[in-house]
């Protein structure tokens, strides 16, 4: 065999491997789509549903539909979700956007001080921030519960079972983002800011008018990363939010899968409906993210 045909076989092998691999990777998506259109609530198992039904989609979107109660008499009843599941998606989006915006505000200003100013114990504070943040949020739940219960006595709209309370907890997770933004600030030369200062700009003006516009990419990365991590957050939301109308997507989606009765059809419809926008957003923002990710940071 000469080296030319050897190369060709290798190429063919590589293509065959990649195509097979991608097909394997994609099956979960296909089974979920199939399961959302199937009749009955069975675990995702087929690529093509045997009996097509739109009931799960109607349920998730809050459209009333008829369900057969008694097979022999053909008796039906009209079914409509008490809490329309699509509301959980909206709750999640709302909380994630507000929390991510807050994170930008808090971590951006902190990062500016860390990158451009001198103060006592600066390095120790930075190290402390990073290491203390390693304490997993899940294990601080007893404390979170106590804090929100306490706050709720004085400001019921920020206590347990409120979106504001959950957002407050999420705002505590600033340190990774402070590190990321600070790292980016440090790659930008201080010379423009310094000349602006000589012209009489205050440090705050230098920050808002000069540094911020130049750092737009890192703010986009931080926003997307925190948005995605809050969309996926389960444990804290599941303990803080107690009633169905307040749930986030993660808590609501998991509520379809009780130990005794797993409603795979409804779960699948909700997963497809809410998964698609997030996935599309991610693919669009991917180019931004690659640069941010290589700077270090792990998706949650």
């Amino acid at each position: 065999m000469n080296s030319g045909s050897k190369r060709l076989t290798r190429k063919l092998l590589a293509h065959a491997f990649l195509i097979l691999f991608i097909m394997m990777i994609m099956t979960p998506f296909l089974t979920v789509i199939a399961s959302s259109f199937s009749r009955g609530n069975f675990a995702p198992s087929k690529l093509i549903p045997t009996e097509i039904s739109l009931n799960h989609w109607k349920y998730v979107l809050g459209i009333p539909y008829d369900e057969v109660v008694n097979v022999t008499t053909g008796e039906t009843r009209t079914l409509k979700a008490d809490v329309v599941p699509i509301r959980w998606f909206w709750n999640s989006i709302k909380i994630s956007i507000i929390a991510s915006g807050g994170i930008l505000l808090l971590s951006g200003t902190c990062a500016y001080a860390f990158a451009r100013m001198k103060f006592a114990f600066k390095n120790q504070t930075m190290t402390g921030l990073l290491i203390l943040q390693m304490f997993p949020m899940v294990l601080a739940l007893v404390a979170f519960y106590t804090i929100l219960e306490f706050i709720g006595q004085f400001a019921p709209r920020m206590g347990l079972n409120t979106h504001a309370g959950l957002t407050l907890i999420y705002l505590g997770g600033v340190s990774i983002y402070i590190w990321m933004i600070k790292g980016y600030f440090e790659t930008i030369s201080t010379s423009i800011e310094e000349s602006a200062r000589i012209d009489g700009a205050s440090p705050f003006q230098a920050f808002i008018l000069i540094l911020l516009p130049m750092s737009a990419p890192i703010f986009a990365v931080v926003f997307i990363l925190s948005f995605i991590s809050y969309m996926s957050e389960y444990p804290v939301a599941s303990v803080v939010l107690q009633t169905g109308d307040q749930w986030t997507l993660a808590v609501g989606a998991n509520s379809f899968l009780y130990e005794q009765q797993k409603l795979w059809g409804r779960f699948s419809a909700l997963a497809v409906l809410s998964g698609i926008p997030i996935t599309v957003l991610f693919i669009i923002c991917q180019r931004f993210l690659v640069s941010g990710l290589t700077a270090g940071g792990v998706k949650e």
Binding site: I25, L132, F135, L139, Q286, T294
Partner: protein, 517 residues
């Protein structure tokens, strides 16, 4: 806009933020949380100082972020650490003050108690009611009606248990129709009324004694000078025992509910000495390390392999492949994990349907511990390889192509190239990423909790530990699964976990700073 209006707006803004905060602070003080109120006042004054004085200029940027960090990261950490030295679980749940309150509110019906007939009227808003009480053997002649005592409106079910309301003398009954006995029993109101204590104008307490009647009550317990309680019915003395967290009689008999109490290092020593806890803890501890290490290794290997393959310039459609391969990373992880839970269902799931049709095997992913662990690693590989691939690609692209040309002249195979050139160049900058991946998986709560929930159950795990549990899910279950609620022990394990991950983070920091300089 001139300077004075700007100033005015500034003051107005500051006042609109500060006044509500001071009001909340005042409420906090009034409700008896003096320590918390002082702390909040201190933070408020510090905030005002920072934003008003030029000395605090740097901290204007740091204050909001660090304040959030203080309240929602540092405080929970200290609180958890503090709980880890306490006996605090389902049996010893309340504070000692609360248990004392409950004891003091317990009442009994003494001999010769006065009976009161009651009527219940629906209140103005939904689920609120008003009670009217009349003495059963009071002066009831034709001219003189018996006195009638009215309660304020209250909601059922009761907000507090027990709840104390003051009665007031009233010449007329409340407006509206009183509920009939049937309505009371049908709505189970008589059950909900049990926790209600009513105080007559002469400070006597009355409580529900039967379906139709309230009667005067006396408190069961009286506080003694040495901090204990005396039973006024039979004269028993009880004292708080800080070892057990219960009030106990002289004979060691427990009375009432338990309270939280200092336990020293007991929670930590239980992990080492109590076989019921030690056995599952040690197994979960090793599985957590194995899981985090294997996840890191497999995702890195696959991600690296794909990255190298896609760097091959002769290959067509590389960008398309790359985009498709990133897909698992783009979907919210919890949705994928829950989907896999269904696909790996050993009876109905897609995986066994496929394996059964093709190879006639149906592995027991849900009941066999080893297969369950394998399943977790497969799912985590699916979730984690794209991230590794992205980062490896970034690193590979920074390697100069000329070194491969030199080795091509030597006639090296691709594998030799990879081993001798690529890996030594890519590995050092990957080490912080690998450590971060290890630390992330070490506490990968969502994966385990949503995929298996820790099942199958571990033999000898006291019903809480599962074969696939990692430390963080095990701890969560200890604290929040109904049968568990052992906050003290959970906090002790949480503290240990924090130390492990904290050291990893510190090592990683040193590595990153080392490679940067």
């Amino acid at each position: 806009m001139n300077k004075s209006t700007t100033k005015l707006i500034q003051y107005a803004l500051a006042a609109s933020v500060l006044l509500p905060l001071f009001y909340v602070n005042f409420l906090m003080y009034m409700s008896g949380n003096i320590l918390m109120a002082m702390g909040m006042l201190g933070l408020l004054v510090l905030g005002i100082f920072i934003y008003a004085s030029h000395k605090g200029y740097v901290y204007r940027y740091l204050f909001p972020g660090l304040l959030g960090f203080l309240i929602f990261v540092i405080f929970p950490l200290i609180y958890t650490f503090w709980i880890s030295f306490h006996k605090y679980d389902a049996r010893n749940l309340l504070t000692k003050e609360r248990v004392e309150q409950i004891l003091l509110s317990e009442t009994f019906e003494p001999e010769g108690a006065l009976g009161y007939a009651y009527k219940i009227y629906p209140g103005v808003s939904f689920n609120t009611y008003q009670l009217a009480l009349t003495p059963k053997d009071g002066p009831a002649t034709a001219e003189q009606l018996p006195p009638m005592f009215l309660s304020p409106e209250f909601s059922l079910p009761l907000v507090d248990d027990p709840q104390i309301l003051d009665l007031s003398l009233s010449p007329t009954p409340p407006s509206g129709e009183a509920l009939t006995l049937g309505e009371i029993t049908r709505g189970k109101l008589h059950v909900m009324l049990r926790g209600l204590k009513l105080k007559l104008p002469d400070q006597q307490i009355v409580a529900l004694s039967s379906l139709r009647e309230f009667s005067t009550q006396k408190p069961v317990w009286e506080k003694t000078k040495d901090g204990g309680f005396k039973n006024l019915q039979d004269g028993t003395l009880i004292h708080a025992q800080s070892n057990s967290g219960f009030f106990e009689t002289e004979d060691g008999e427990r009375v009432g509910v338990g309270f939280r109490t200092w336990a020293g290092g007991e929670n930590y020593s239980r992990i080492i000495n109590d076989e019921q806890i030690k056995q599952p803890f040690v197994r979960i501890f090793f599985w957590t390390f194995a899981f985090a290490f294997l996840s890191m290794l497999t995702t890195f290997a696959l991600g690296m392999f794909l990255a190298v393959l896609l760097e091959w310039e002769g290959l067509k459609a590389r960008t398309l492949y790359r985009t498709l391969l990133i897909f698992p990373y783009a979907v919210p992880a919890f949705l994928s994990i829950l989907t896999f839970q269904g696909m790996f269902n050993q009876e109905f799931g897609a995986v066994n349907e496929f394996l059964g049709a093709l190879f006639h095997i149906t592995p027991e992913w849900n009941t066999n511990p080893w297969l369950a662990k394998t399943m977790i690693l497969i799912v985590n590989l699916w979730l984690g390889y794209p991230y590794m691939m992205i980062i490896c690609t970034g690193n590979l692209q920074s390697i100069s192509k000329s070194i491969y040309e030199a080795s091509a002249i030597d006639g090296s195979t691709p594998w030799a190239n990879f081993k001798r050139l690529t890996l030594p160049l890519v590995l050092p900058p990957m080490i912080p990423v690998l450590i971060a991946s290890f630390a992330f998986n070490f506490n990968n709560f969502n994966l385990i909790f949503l995929l298996t929930g820790g099942s199958p159950k571990m033999v000898g795990g006291a019903g809480i530990a599962g074969e696939t549990d990692i430390l963080v899910t095990y701890t969560f279950n200890l604290a929040f699964k109904n049968s568990g609620a052992d906050y003290g022990l959970a906090s002790a394990i949480a503290t240990i976990l924090f130390v492990i991950v904290g050291i990893l983070a510190w090592l990683n920091l040193k590595k990153t700073q080392g490679s940067a300089s």
